[in-house]
């Protein structure tokens, strides 16, 4: 059930404790892909995963802003501080839980959100009246996962499949040429570059021309299936807290 499209009376009739909150970012994705790529992807995966799951799930509205200051040198990028982002997540989950939707999966479309979501879901589970975990779609696409970049093959493919009008076909070649091969500058497993502008000229990492719409369809199906499995596990989990030793 899309929460934003439902009435409160319809929500009152639901018998589930499961909710999904899509979280993304509005940030540069190269010269060919839209700034909204991350939240559009999170939203698409969340919808497909909820659809694939056998049971009722409350689907909250998508949070379009994330922890993206690393892209601040590229025009149009918006960001929240990690503190504010965590507060948004924590309070969103708390309000859902107040209505009984107290098993919540945060469906994420942005790498920069991963740490903050892990921390927030731990805090929620330990200190609030809810159980929360986060799920990042591009970690859940089988072998494709190794090709994740930024505005690269996977994200380009997914947007092409879900929002074909939003990929600038004419700029794909340019996007490929200005792209970096990998994310960051690494020495001793430490990334020396805190901002993406330090290592990518046009904001892209990976080859976006390898991101066909057909591949996007496959990615969506893989991610949706993985999310459905997670929803199943979350719905059945014993979420009582462990005993002290």
């Amino acid at each position: 059930m899309h929460l934003a499209r439902a009435t409160w009376t319809e929500v009152a009739d639901l018998e589930t404790d499961l909710a999904v909150v899509p979280v993304g970012s509005t940030e540069q994705h190269g010269p060919h892909a839209p700034l909204g790529t991350d939240f559009l992807a999170a939203e698409a995966v969340a919808e497909a995963g909820v659809e694939a799951f056998d049971g009722d799930v409350v689907l909250a509205p998508t949070i379009p802003l994330g922890v993206a200051e690393e892209h601040r040198h590229f025009p149009g990028t918006m960001w929240l501080s990690p503190d504010t982002f965590r507060a948004v997540v924590r309070e969103s989950v708390a309000s859902l839980a107040s209505h009984g939707f107290d098993r919540v999966v945060l469906v994420n479309g942005h790498g920069g959100n991963v740490d903050a979501l892990r921390e927030a879901s731990g805090t929620i589970t330990r200190h609030d009246d809810a159980y929360a975990v986060s799920f990042t779609w591009f970690e859940n696409v089988g072998d494709h996962a190794s090709e994740m970049g930024h505005g690269g093959p996977l994200e380009t493919a997914l947007v092409r499949h879900c929002h074909p009008d939003l990929v600038r076909e004419a700029r794909l070649e340019e996007a490929r040429e200005g792209a970096a091969e990998r994310w960051g500058e690494w020495v001793s497993h430490t990334n020396l570059a805190h901002d993406s502008a330090a290592f990518t000229a046009n904001g892209v990492v990976g080859d976006p021309t390898a991101g066909s719409a057909a591949r996007g369809a496959e990615l969506l199906e893989l991610a949706a299936a993985a999310l459905a499995r997670l929803l199943e596990a979350v719905s059945e989990r014993d979420v009582s807290r462990p005993d002290r030793r």
Copy 2:
């Protein structure tokens, strides 16, 4: 320009300092109107107002959550604390301003956000590198404004016009019958009721059956024109700070 649908290279080519951020809420709007009413309305008015304005404006993605704890007794209502909401607004404006979009109008669809937006826009203007003001659509619909309730004639009309599938026609009569006549319980210009559940049985204030789609079209046009006038004024305003006396 819809920021989320644009690429950073397109944003870089813009020559404007104007941005609009739609802000709403996900909260009960009676048995007939969707929980997303406030952000859908803010989004519709923002789009129409930007369209009506003669000049470029960056249209940021809509913030779907607001200061709505007053509706917490109705299932599905989500809310942010005022502190978090203000932080979201302030950081959103700061990131837009970092790219030169430093005259920002916050287009609001929820009464509960008004105070927080006024405070946040004052803080931004006094202490950050941007000028911000807020605009609430239902204050800008001429004489209709006096009929604003909650899920009442104005909001029902606007949703019917913009998202006709989201109004439950079959429950309008029930919505009318359970509605309160006015917002709050007042003594000496003080509202004694901090939560809407104290004075409305079904969450509605006002008569939703008076909210035809035609009326919605008129409301949208009025609000859009008012927003365009505000954008004009903001674009021309001398935003340098006053002199000390």
Copy 3:
């Protein structure tokens, strides 16, 4: 009972759950009225209202600082951030409530405090162990209310009545001449001016020469009667929280 003048043993003997906290501001009020106008007015109204009410009320000391950064360009203006002001209010109410005075009316003398008081009283009522509402005196003076400005007829009248030595009679004419006619600069129901120095040369809004001491006496009586009615309503109100729907 004036709390500050009482001993704790006298407070222990009281049988009431009602308290009043006067809150004001120290800020410019033109060349003719004192910087303390707002807290002196709040204090006078609070005293008169408590006197007019038939029952015991704890009258806390007056908080002399408020949310007044909008007047910062005028020498002598002091202000708290809204966050600090809300914390002062919330903690003041919490300490009163710890002694059983858990129905609290915040009696306010400054327009800039209104939003923060509404938020703080909502937070207190929803999350703390007390019920709180705020009352602003110049909204409770019948038809006079439409003439409220800043250092204008109403405030000048009240100070003249309560503290006649604090109005500079010799500067009233100058005050009138340099005054603005209305508060703010408005387009589409949005005030474009965040600071008063943007629209008033000498800090005054309205005509202070229309503020006679006799009018002040009338204002005080009207406001005190309204406050007494509010205290009556608060003392009788069922402050249990509403049921979830």
Copy 4:
């Protein structure tokens, strides 16, 4: 100059950078002395000290609430958290400094405020645009200082001198009988008692019958002279920051 009684135009004409902010508390002072003792004393000393000083000083309104949770078991005691109290002090000083009054003496009447004032004045001096120090009146009364208790000889004397109607003469004997001899319960220079209710039955420490009005007059004179000396030193001090070594 009493800031609250002055107009902004009068403040604008001042040529000084000195300000004084009286800070106190509203807390139990035994069965004989008023809850306002601390702020009334701070106010009286501040006024007398400013009077005794040869030069202009801005005298801000008195802050009537302090760090007094230690007295929470006695009815009527109000308190701010140390964080909020420090914020009030810091923001008060910052607004005074914005007008050029950037050498500020915080005149204190409550032992529980001492640590927080020391921290706040250090923070202000190191990080803000002002120089601040705090002064506690009962440390500045010569040999009398050794007799300071709580609601004991010194405070009783000062209130008797400044506000004779506020000392309950009929309860002095009772106050004396229920008093503790010293503040706290000490082992190895550590006070084991965090709350005053742990060691005083009626809230008093010391013998209030030893606090005559004549002694109060002497205390006021001593404290005022000490404050005047401090104002002299502050006005002449080189407040530029030290060099790094």
Copy 5:
């Protein structure tokens, strides 16, 4: 140079901008390894790495507490909230940078600190007057890294090498028997378990009997060499901020 053992005059004579801050945790490491394992390891690696590096480095005292609430069910575990931990790191780096040591490597011994260190070093580098990165020793031990558990082969080996008296040889077998095979409970790349007590009976993950002292010596040498390479890279890096696109 060990900062804590140096005098300020010796520090003043240094010509370097490099500093290292070891950060660990005090938390359960099974029945055989000490609660201090993580900070002792961080300290040992930091010392060896600084030694291996060809140049001067300021070695700050070790921070013995970290983000370890996940182990709270095991007696003796101490933890800071992520917010406080990040503040400690940020302020430590800021004070070092104030003396010119503004290229800082945070040498980490605890997996639970990784996210918070990444965030803090990004914040420092973007907003403060320093450049910071973090380094986690057990990611920098070549192929051994794949065997990292908790109190498992790697940590047991390192403690045995550096602090042989702190490993309880007699309890190694018991530690092995009660150990979990892997960290966490995973579905769709999401760890469902927020607390370690959910998946390990005695707090151990991995086989501690595979952690000989000789292996510990090798681990230390590998980690120290990697840290020395990172120090070299940090000392030579252009830390000016990237250009806006």
Copy 6:
């Protein structure tokens, strides 16, 4: 029991509710004494005091950073803000208390920490699930206490006794010559100097040549005995909260 050296299983076997947390600072102590003086002293006293006490005590790892911004002008000084320091203390105590060690003595080696420790221990005792007090070693050395300076006779003596290699004998004479005679610059019991660089050329206050190792041994014994007495008192104290009056 040294917590960091123990295993969780050993901690689980303890039957005590007493814990000690040594807290110090890393800050300049003149040209002759190490920057770590304060935390090394706190650690030595804590160990000796725990040893002298007849009963089990958990000895937590030493917190090496404190409230020391006052020494910021001297190279190598590190500091935490008072807010962060208090959070570290409060969270450390909370985690110890979660395991049943809920009577905690904070053993302090730095004057600048005293106020913050008093506040934190009050907050903990009133609002958390633990009882806490702080103990500062140099207040507990009998008549020696009057000679406490900074890097002066007492601290020099203690370091010479506990860590003789860390006192630079060759620089003692220079240290003495550049020392100030007293801490601060005082007028009317107010210290006008917020930073130590304002009144001491080389960071020293007092005569370090008067700090022999033999004196250090005596100081340690005195302080340890005082701490043992405090532990005794804390272990036996009725820590239930007082009754309301």
